[in-house]
Symmetry: C2
Subunit: 152 residues, 2 copies
């Protein structure tokens, strides 16, 4: 289970992270192995939980979601973290949630349709969760970089 990922595994991941639509046979050619080998490796990596699947990348603003914001959340007690997470799961606008060090207890990334929608999420949904003391909002005016980590 705790198998060390070898060089070939990393090369496969590196190539497919750049372009998932690429065919296994094509990747195989570049790495000078057979298509079957890529398949076996990917299967193993998926079973190990290294590969968690694939995701369709869309442009949120094209489907009407124009606001991206980061919310710092102050909890009354840090220990309430787990219960609060459960309640936040139910807010679909929250796309990322982290338990963080520093000024905030939690840090969330949310995607909304417009400023009114953002206000709604903040006031009616987030602030009404028990234990949430106050929040701080950072609105993203421009997303300049959005990519994946590079594994070598």
């Amino acid at each position: 289970m705790n198998y060390e990922i070898d060089k070939l595994d990393k090369q496969i991941l590196s190539l497919l992270m750049q372009d998932v639509t690429r065919a296994y046979t094509d990747v195989a050619k570049e790495l000078n192995v057979s298509g079957g080998t890529i398949h076996v490796r990917m299967k193993k990596l998926t079973e190990m939980g290294v590969v968690k699947g694939a995701q369709l990348l869309i442009n949120p603003s094209a489907v009407g979601f124009d606001i991206c914001a980061f919310i710092g959340v102050f909890l009354e007690k840090g220990s309430e973290y787990k219960e609060t997470v459960k309640k936040m799961q139910d807010i679909p606008e929250i796309v990322e949630l982290h338990y963080t060090t520093g000024a905030y207890s939690m840090f969330a990334k949310i995607i909304c349709r417009d400023t009114q929608h953002l206000r709604e999420v903040l006031n009616e949904k987030l602030q009404s969760i028990e234990g949430v003391q106050r929040t701080e909002t950072l609105i993203s005016l421009e997303e300049s970089i959005n990519r994946q980590i590079r594994i070598d």
Copy 2:
């Protein structure tokens, strides 16, 4: 070019966002249209820039990247934003970069191997960029949610 996305488009996106590996023919069955239609719609959505492609989801810690952090960046002058972005492009550890309202000029998400790697990125890479005054770091101790927006 500025075509309004219709209900069928949204249904297709919604289904594929939940699972990209799903076959077009399978999606077609659920939506009671032919496989060819799904293909044509997806092609159109891709050409329009609504769909930006697909991405392989991996578990960063499984490939040795254990630290996820958010960095608030203060610039000497806000106007230096564009040039600074270009320099940040060259730091592969930065996976997201936003131009934000609020306390910081810019806000970045970075993924590192360990705390030493994080220190290296902060001190040697980020701080050495001209125009960067100081930074504030939030380290994510736990990522509780990571998902995509839900389009209805």
